[in-house]
């Protein structure tokens, strides 16, 4: 075993493959600790209520590093957690004036998608009042809105008819963020000034300011404003689990069935061979598609069906022929002579001999299963609950990401899938050369 490992380290591709696999495992563990399962599902299945702070179809923020023209980055700030500063000055007869100032550093060449104020207020009978203004770097003061507040108010800058009339345009943001002389984006320090008045002692106003730029976060967002970091991170444990369980399950079951068939021989062996031939006739992908369409899209059902259909394939014939040789060895005869039972011989004498052959096969068949999951997802048969890389690609395809230029959306999961597949494949190839003496010299 030790010498095999040393042999393995001689192959650069094996070292690279091992690094990739280790990195994946680390990512998977990190994902599961950072975002626990229930939280990941809540985020992935969440709608506008969870993701309202994010823009739609936003590429990741780091594309600004590669572009000479800068895209506006998204953010959100709120008074409840102190990211938006609120000063309350008490006035006469229980009134108070509230002032909220947000310095908006706008250094971008593109206008934001949307700006929204979410205002919540507390009051008994007298509704508080709020007004908002935007101070531009060149000293202009643009009145945004005045409103008396209900319990909840959502103010979207782009939807305000009055603001449009005041700015004499349908498109609010170019008017707000441009130099009126040149019409070009005006970079600099803007100031969003919100002032409110409450008319009761216990009355209060809280504001959340959401800025939807063109870019967002580390991985960007999709059509439902979801942060792609969640499915990209969680795709790793799902892909690893699916790939490894399918590959291990298939190989171990194949080997055990082949060993039992060879050892007992007779009708059992014949039956296994006939089942293998029948299985060759069955359309593998079609059956998986049928199960996904008619029965259940759950990843575990698909996993079970995949393993069942992958047991009785050509591999079982390969193992059978090797077991046939092993069966005649002296040590098996010796085991029989001292009275070892058939199960004992199968599990302690026959199968352990095959483990060196199992390891390369195990590693090399992982990519096929990882990509199978992705393939089914691309056909629209991905797990309805779990976030996976394949699901991201399918969402992207369904929203015409390639036609509309949202390349990041496809490239991120695709590159991760590719790295995973290649990592396992490279390691598997090297393992095959180490453990399979027939290949060692060529």
């Amino acid at each position: 075993m030790k010498s095999s490992l040393q042999n393995l380290l001689k192959y650069p591709s094996a070292v690279l493959g091992m690094l990739v696999v280790l990195l994946l495992v680390a990512t998977a563990i990190f994902a599961m600790i950072k975002i626990p399962y229930a939280e990941a599902i809540r985020l992935w299945r969440g709608g506008e209520d969870v993701w309202y702070q994010n823009p739609k179809f936003a590429p990741p923020a780091w594309i600004n590093n590669f572009s000479s023209k800068k895209y506006a980055e998204s953010f959100s700030v709120r008074t409840t957690d102190g990211s938006l500063e609120k000063t309350v000055t008490p006035g006469k007869e229980g009134t108070a004036s509230i002032s909220i100032n947000y310095p908006l550093d706008f250094q971008y060449d593109y206008y934001p998608q949307e700006m929204i104020l979410y205002v919540t207020s507390k009051y008994q009978t007298k509704q508080p009042f709020l007004s908002a203004e935007l101070l531009t770097p060149d000293g202009r003061k643009i009145r945004i809105t005045n409103a008396s507040l209900g319990e909840k108010l959502t103010y979207r800058f782009s939807q305000d008819q009055k603001l449009m009339t005041r700015l004499r345009t349908e498109d609010v943001f170019p008017a707000l963020f441009s130099d009126p002389k040149t019409g070009q984006p005006l970079k600099g320090q803007y100031q969003l000034q919100i002032s409110g008045t409450t008319f009761e002692p216990d009355s209060d106003i809280d504001v959340e300011f959401v800025f939807h730029g063109q870019v967002y976060g580390l991985a960007g967002t999709d059509q439902s404003r979801r942060d792609l970091v969640v499915p990209l991170l969680w795709g790793a444990p799902v892909a690893l689990a699916f790939g490894l369980i399918a590959s291990l399950g298939t190989l171990v079951l194949t080997m055990v069935i082949a060993a039992i068939g060879t050892w007992y021989g007779g009708w059992l062996d014949e039956l296994i061979q006939r089942i293998t031939e029948v299985n060759l006739v069955l359309p593998f992908l079609s059956i998986l598609i049928m199960i996904g369409t008619f029965y259940s899209r759950s990843i575990w059902v698909i996993l079970g069906a995949t393993i069942l259909l992958s047991i009785f394939t050509g591999a079982i014939k390969g193992y059978r022929s090797i077991f046939m040789q092993v069966k005649e060895s002296m040590y098996i005869e010796a085991a029989q002579a001292y009275g070892a039972s058939s199960p004992r011989i199968i599990f302690f004498y026959l199968i352990p001999r095959m483990i060196p052959l199992l390891i390369p096969g195990l590693v090399s068949s992982v990519p096929a299963f990882v990509f199978l999951e992705a393939s089914l997802a691309v056909l629209g048969l991905g797990d309805p609950v779990l976030p996976t890389w394949g699901k991201i690609i399918q969402d992207a395809q369904a929203n015409g990401a390639l036609y509309r230029g949202y390349y990041y959306w496809i490239l991120e999961p695709a590159v991760l899938l590719m790295i995973t597949g290649l990592g396992f494949a490279m390691l598997g190839f090297a393992l095959d050369r180490v453990f399979n003496p027939r290949l060692r010299d060529v």
Binding site: S13, R274, E277, V278, N279, L280, V281, L282, P283, L285, S286, I287, I289, M290, I291, T293, F294, Y295, S364, P367, A368, F371, A374, S375, V378, L379, I393, Q397, L402, Y403, G405, Y407, I410, L411, A414, L417, M418, G421, L422, F424, A425, M426, G428, F429, R438, L439, V442
Partner: protein, 374 residues
């Protein structure tokens, strides 16, 4: 002394009995083999039918769907709204019964399954439930035939290219193994872990989205260009990306496999001997390396021909290529069991025939193999 010398008649008698035994052996083999293959096909197709209606589960889905659409249709029809509720209810039930009869849902599942099976085995593919061909026919045979050329074009061009290119290149590499190109192929062979549709997405991204020199998908422009030459060129333009993605995805592994295979055979003693005799490399390759590997190459080729039939479901879906794989996928979505069964039975027959014929081909190309001998 006289006993040793055989008379001519005795010798020919031995020969006839030998010929007879060969004939017997081969014919017994043929019968047994054909029977087992037939049983295999029957069981395989029956299982597919069972899966295609999930043991009756799909019937329930279809029944509910029929009930829903017909109730809706009659409820929304203004002419029917004036009818007496009881009459209308009767009308709904009658229409549902009619529709169920059309779909065959009035017959018990087992009977229907056996009917599907016997029709399939006699290649009586019947009519599709929901799908129609572009020409408007509901005949499964016509639906399949309409899609076949598209699949054959895509799969045929890519798979045949792959087959011949990889054998040719593998021979070259095995001759000079260990050089730069050989190492490159070995290093790149893990790229085949990635399926074709995946390369397809990258190719679309590069050539269709960024450079905009090749189409995103489809088989011809819409409207199709007139004139044979323009049409073929347009077809070719649409073929490049899907065919390339199918080729790229298997290219290096295929070369690697053949190369390793040839290398194992070229280390045999008789090849060394031939080299020592000073035979030209070309003769060594064709007589001493290709000849013994011929059975395997033929098997690969035969299996390749069968895979042409199945199409590439996901690649066809990604490229919107109107082939059989995509049709099958759509048929599943529409619960169209006749199409699923039709496609499976043809594949099963093709596979069984190929497996059967290969035994004879082995005996023809390899004098060491005798049919029906263990």
């Amino acid at each position: 002394m006289a006993v040793v010398a055989q008379t001519p008649s005795q010798a020919s008698g031995a020969k006839t009995s030998l010929r007879n035994s060969t004939f017997l052996r081969v014919s017994r083999y043929v019968v047994v083999r054909l029977l087992t293959l037939f049983v295999t096909v029957v069981v395989g197709v029956y299982l597919t039918i069972m899966i295609a209606n999930m043991g009756g589960y799909v019937d329930q889905i279809m029944r509910n769907e029929v009930r829903d659409t017909i109730t809706q249709r009659i409820a929304l029809n203004p002419a029917m709204q004036k009818l007496d509720p009881a009459v209308r209810k009767q009308l709904i039930e009658d229409t549902i019964a009619q529709e169920e009869k059309r779909l065959g849902l009035n017959v018990p599942l087992v009977v229907r399954n056996v009917r599907y099976l016997s029709n399939a085995l006699t290649l009586n593919l019947g009519r599709a439930i929901n799908m129609t061909s572009d020409a408007g026919s509901k005949q499964v045979r016509l639906i399949i035939l309409e899609r076949l050329p598209a699949t054959l074009l895509l799969m045929g061009s890519s798979q045949l290219f792959l087959f011949f290119a990889s054998i040719f290149l593998a021979l070259g590499l095995s001759r000079r193994y260990g050089n730069f190109w050989d190492k490159l192929v070995v290093a790149l062979s893990p790229t085949s872990a990635v399926p074709p549709w995946f390369y397809g997405i990258f190719l679309i991204l590069i050539f269709a989205a960024i450079f905009q020199i090749l189409p995103f998908g489809g088989m011809v422009d819409s409207p199709p260009p007139t004139g044979t030459l323009a049409y073929s060129l347009n077809l070719l333009k649409h073929l490049i990306l899907p065919a390339s993605s199918l080729i790229i995805s298997s290219f290096f592994l295929s070369i690697y496999n053949y190369r390793t295979f040839f290398l194992i055979y070229s280390s045999e003693d008789y090849v060394e001997m031939a080299k020592a005799k000073g035979l030209p490399a070309r003769d060594i390759e064709s007589r001493y390396i290709l000849r013994p590997t011929l059975p395997n190459i033929i098997t690969n080729f035969a299996l390749l021909i069968i895979t042409l039939w199945t199409g590439a479901t996901i690649t066809e879906t990604v490229f919107l290529w109107p082939g059989l794989g995509r049709t099958l996928y759509r048929a599943i979505g529409l619960y169209d069991i006749p199409i699923i069964v039709g496609s499976t039975i043809i594949y099963a027959y093709l596979l069984a025939m190929t497996v059967f014929l290969l035994d004879f081909v082995y005996a023809l190309v390899d004098p060491r193999v005798k049919i029906g001998e263990n």
